[in-house]
Structures are given as C-alpha cells and as structure tokens.
Amino acid sequence: MRVTQGCFSFLPDLTDEQISRQVQYCLEKGWAVNIEFTDDPHPRNSFWEMWGLPMFDLRDAAGVMMELDQCRKVYGNSYIRLSAFDNSHGWESVRLSFIVNRPKDEPGFRLERHEMAGRNIRYTTKSYAVDRPEGGRYG
C-alpha cells in the first residue's frame, strides 16, 4: 500500500528539485521547515521524531536539502516528512506538510473490529510495522 498522508502523496514521488522548490516557497512565507521521521506512520501518530530543531531564520532551501540528505543517510528506509511551521498569530501551526521519503515496502495497517453491544463495532487501526520493536522495523 501507499500511505497517502501529506500534501503530495497522490503525485509521483517528488524529485529533490521539486522538494527544494516547495521548501523555498515555505521559507519565503517566513515559515520554519522541520524534518521529521518515523517507522510508525499510524494516522494518529502526531509526533514523528525530529531531525534536529525546526530550521528558523533560514533563507535558502539548500540548507534544508543538506539536512534531508543527512537524515536519509540514517533513516533512508523510514518515512520522512517536511513540515513548515507558521508562528504568526492565529495560526501558530503547521502550514504545509509532505512526505519526502518512504520505506521500500509499506506494509500498511490492519483494521481490528471488536463487536460490541447491539451492532456497534469498536475499530482499531494497527500499523503492521509496529509488530516489531521500534528501530527494528522495515528490516
């Protein structure tokens, strides 16, 4: 399967040049770009691991691309996403987020159904990847 979180998951994987142009767009808006990675892409897993701090005060996308290269060297078989953070009043939140790296094989999720009273079903989504301990997922 293909996890379709993020802004561009329905397009063919972005090239580094395309990623760089998106980063530049964010920087020109004054947003801080943050690199995050995880081996558990559960839809409710809000807090991916941070690759350093959000890059405040950066002007040139090249800085982010260098960090992304470093991150890929270490976590090349994990999910990596870029998030752009806007600290202006009334937003103070993420304004753009997209996946820039995926594991070779995306096992996806299992849907568990617990039958409750009446016809009610309690659903639980589980990442197949978390059957293995953190750090040991995706081989």
């Binding site: 972005l14 839809p43 009334g90 103070e92 659903y123 989504t125």
Partner: protein, 508 residues
C-alpha cells in the same frame, strides 16, 4: 493613494433636489415634555434619527437597504426601522419615561442613496450593547430582524451587514474546533480539503450508502457528507447509516493511513433526538457531525456547545438560506448569516463556489469567505463588506464550496477560494465514468498538482488546463474526468452583487 481606493459610483437616480437636501438634515428630535405628548409622532422626531450621533466602540451597527413606499421620506423610513427594531411602537407611550429611553433607542445616524438603485437607501443604525443578551443569536436576531421586515411604509428591507463590537463577540463561544485545530486533528495541511456529498440524496439503504462513502474516501477524499435532507427516513434509519458509514470510514482510514471523516447529519425533530444521534456518532468514533441551518439559531448554538464538549467538528449545511438571502432588495444578506454562524459556533459553513451551479458572484463570495476565515475584516465595499470587523481571536470557520464543481475547474477554485476551504465534488466524484474511487482520485490528483504548481510560483490560473493535462498523463481517472466534464460551466447572471465597484483612481 492605495490602489484599491473606492469611489462609489454616483447614483444616476431620480433623486430630487428635495431628497438631496433631506439627506443632509440635522436632528429633528423633539425633546422634553413635548416628546411624550400622547398621539402619533414621526419616528424621525422621536429620537431614532440622530445624524450627529457617533457610534460607540461597543455599539452594534446594522446596515439596512431600505426601499420606502412611494412618497415616503427615506429618513422617516430609516428612522422607523431604527425605532421598530428597538424601543418604539406606533404611538407615543408615557412608560418610556420610566426608562433611560435615549440610551435604548436605536439611532439611525446615516442614510445614503444606493448607487445605481433609484428608490433604495442604505441606513446605518447603531444599537446600544445593553439592548442585547450575551451570547444569544436568537436575541440578537429577534431584535434586529424580528419586527421590521413587514413594516407597511416599506416596499422592501434588507439587512446587508452588521458590525459586531468586540465586547459582544467575546460573549460567544465561536467555532467549536476552528480551522487550525481541525487541520491538526485531521493531519491535513497546505491544501483545501476534499469532500463529496453522497448521491442520490434519497433512497439508498444504509449498506449501499456506506459503499459510496467507502469508495469516495478510499479513492482520496478527506470527507464525505450526508445531504441536508438525509435524516431518518423509511429507506434508511439513522442508526443504519451511522453504523455503515463508520465501517466505511475506518476501512478507508486503514487502507490509506489518513484520517477520514463523514459528516453524519444529526438534524432531527427535537433537540433530544439530535443529542441522541450526536452521542451515537461520538460513540462510534466519528470526528464530525452535521446540522442544517433550518434547525434554528438556538439549536445551532446548543449543538456547537455539545461539539466543543465532545471534541467534534461541527458542519453546518445552510439549508433554506436562499429563501431570504438571494434577492437583493429584501431579506438578510448571507454575509450577516455567516457572521451569526461564526458567533454561534459552527466549524464548517457552505459559502458558495463562484463557478458551480449555485448563486454567488466572485466579489460577494470573497466577502463571505473573508468573514469566515480572517481575524480582522477591513471595510471592503467592493466585496460587500461595509464595516471593519474585529473577531478578537474567535476561531476561524472553514468555508465549504459545494454544488456543480469538478476537477477541471481546480485552478479557478483555488484562485477564487484559496487554501482554507473544503471543495466538495458530489456529482464530480460519484458520476465519474470509471467509478467513485476513480472520481475521488481524479479530484485529489488535480488538487495536489495545482497546489504543487502554485507553490512553485507558476501562474496556475492561466496555466491551469495545462497543469491538469500534465497531471492526467500519469493518472487515467483524471484524464477521463477532464474529458467528461470539459465543457460544463454554469454561467448565469448573479442576483446579488456588491453595490460598489472599484474605480481606477487618479495617481496622486
């Protein structure tokens, strides 16, 4: 001089010299003992026309479009609106003297002829804050529109806009969730959200209905939606719908790794029934519920409070609004309804598509969207926004564009409506020749391609068709959608447009 400086178009009307003079009249208010002599007195003499009055920061201001009957003095008509929407009745009453009557009288302080509309006048009326109950749209609307719209001396009356003082805004909860938290909860940033209304509107069983929801969500939409009149009918009891919809939502969520939702319409005959349905939606794990505007302002506020207490996004379908918002001369403008709904506390509100099948000219629609989404609205006469409005950090409300839109219009939609909007392609998803999933995928791919291009700095509005065609090279569903709906547009003249148009100003 700012480039968008507005010079109202001069009225070409039958305005007479006499009318012109009247516009500039001073206060005619009779004071002291004479004011309270029994009998009938013109409203403009009773203190409801005060051209020297300067509205206080805490006043609520209403702008009415007044169309007096032939021969009725526009100032008197405007004063009558002020009177009848505050303290007055048709005759003088001595009991006024037991009150601080001057404070409680609404004061019409300005009357302007409407540009290019002979016989119509804009009346600005200020109301003291003490005339209203905290946090109650029912009370606000009962005062402002409760009594005056059938007034005989008027041919027609329309509430065009309102300035809500911060002091009053702060007495309302506002949107239960708001755009920022909705995006965080849904984990979707940087693009409009995508939705579809399940079709056909009526007749599907719960199981068939859930099938449509599953296909659309799995194909790439973020939301599906019940239609306004899907409640609990013989063909589908509401519990059946909720159960099958949540199976569909969860299955699509697991298949995509994304958060998905379906607006479960909890509209019902009584509040008790609505609460019961909302509780069931919560128990099943839905992230969102839906209500119709026709349930009434108080019911809407109750559901907004319920939604805030239960971490639920609240979608409002503006069912019925066109009965009073559409005609330019009479009723209530949708911009006022949008303001009331932001106070009342809904998270989503249908606010027009510009390009789709339902009423809405681009400038007016832009005004509605600003009211939903901005923390501060400056006066923008060219968008029909007559007042500076400070929302004082009240949550932002997500506008929804729904009705007759398709993937081929993606560049225009993004240009007109921006990024914080839900684009709902009902027919444009379910009517896809390759099936519902393909329809959803076509919309999602078109959207992502357009956002990518916009962020790259391309002139996406002009290059839109080209960008879509390029994206369709690797996406057959999009290719087929573009082919099927290539010539579909809805070009009709709008019935409601701003009265002021930007005029190029002389460079200074």
């Amino acid at each position: 001089m700012p480039p968008d400086l507005l010079i109202p178009t001069l009225p070409t009307s039958r305005r007479t010299q006499q009318e012109e003079t009247k516009m500039n009249q001073h206060s005619m208010t009779i004071r002291g003992k004479e004011r309270y002599k029994s009998g009938v007195m013109e409203y403009k003499k009773m203190g409801y026309w005060e051209p020297d009055y300067v509205p206080k920061d805490t006043d609520i201001i209403a702008l009415f479009r007044v169309t007096p009957q032939d021969g009725v003095d526009p100032i008197e008509a405007a004063a009558a609106v002020a009177g009848e929407s505050s303290t007055a009745t048709w005759t003088v009453v001595w009991t006024d003297r037991l009150t601080a009557a001057e404070k409680y009288r609404a004061k019409c302080y300005r009357v302007d002829p409407v540009p290019n509309s002979p016989g119509q006048y804009f009346a600005y009326i200020a109301y003291d804050l003490d005339l209203f109950e905290n946090g109650s749209i029912a009370n606000l609307s009962a005062s402002i529109i409760g009594n005056v719209f059938g007034f005989k001396p008027l041919k027609a009356l329309r509430l065009e806009d309102m300035r809500l003082p911060v002091a009053y805004v702060k007495t309302f909860q506002g949107p239960a969730t708001g755009i920022v938290v909705e995006r965080e909860r849904m984990d979707k940033f940087g693009r409009p959200l995508l939705g579809a209304t399940v079709k056909p509107k009526l007749g599907l069983s719960g199981r068939n209905y859930g099938r449509v929801v599953y296909e659309a969500l799995k194909g790439g939409l973020d939301f599906t939606k019940d239609d306004e009149n899907i409640n609990s009918q013989p063909f589908m009891h509401w519990r059946e719908r909720f159960l099958y919809c949540m199976e569909a939502v969860n299955k699509a969520q697991a298949a995509s790794g994304e958060i998905k939702g379906t607006y479960l319409n909890v509209t019902a005959g009584t509040m008790e029934d609505m609460y019961e349905r909302a509780e069931f939606a919560k128990e099943l794990g839905s992230v969102i519920i839906m209500i119709d505007l026709v349930i009434g302002y108080t019911a809407i506020q109750s559901m907004a409070k319920w939604a805030r207490r239960n971490d639920m996004i609240l979608h409002l379908h503006r069912a019925g609004h066109s009965t009073y918002t559409r005609q330019r001369s009479h009723g209530v403008s949708f911009r006022v309804i949008a303001k009331w709904m932001r106070l009342a506390g809904v998270d989503h509100i249908h606010a027009g598509t510009v390009v789709g099948k339902l009423e809405g000219d681009p400038a007016t629609t832009r005004g509605y969207y600003d009211i939903c989404r901005e923390d501060y609205n400056p006066v923008r006469l060219e968008h029909g926004v007559f007042f500076d409005q400070n929302w004082a950090s009240l949550n932002r409300m997500m506008p929804v564009a729904s009705g007759g839109i398709h993937a081929g219009q993606m560049h225009q939609l993004l240009d007109h409506l921006g990024e914080d909007v839900i684009l709902q392609f009902g027919g444009g998803t379910i009517g896809h020749p390759m099936g519902i999933q393909a329809g959803a995928t076509a919309n999602r791919v078109a959207l992502e391609a357009m956002i990518l291009a916009r962020n790259e700095g391309r002139d996406y509005l002009r290059e839109g068709p080209e960008i879509l065609a390029k994206a369709a090279e690797t996406c057959t569903p999009l290719k087929s959608a573009l082919e099927v709906w290539k010539n579909v547009t809805f070009n009709y003249e709008s019935t409601d447009m701003p009265d002021y148009v930007p005029t190029p100003s002389v460079a200074m």
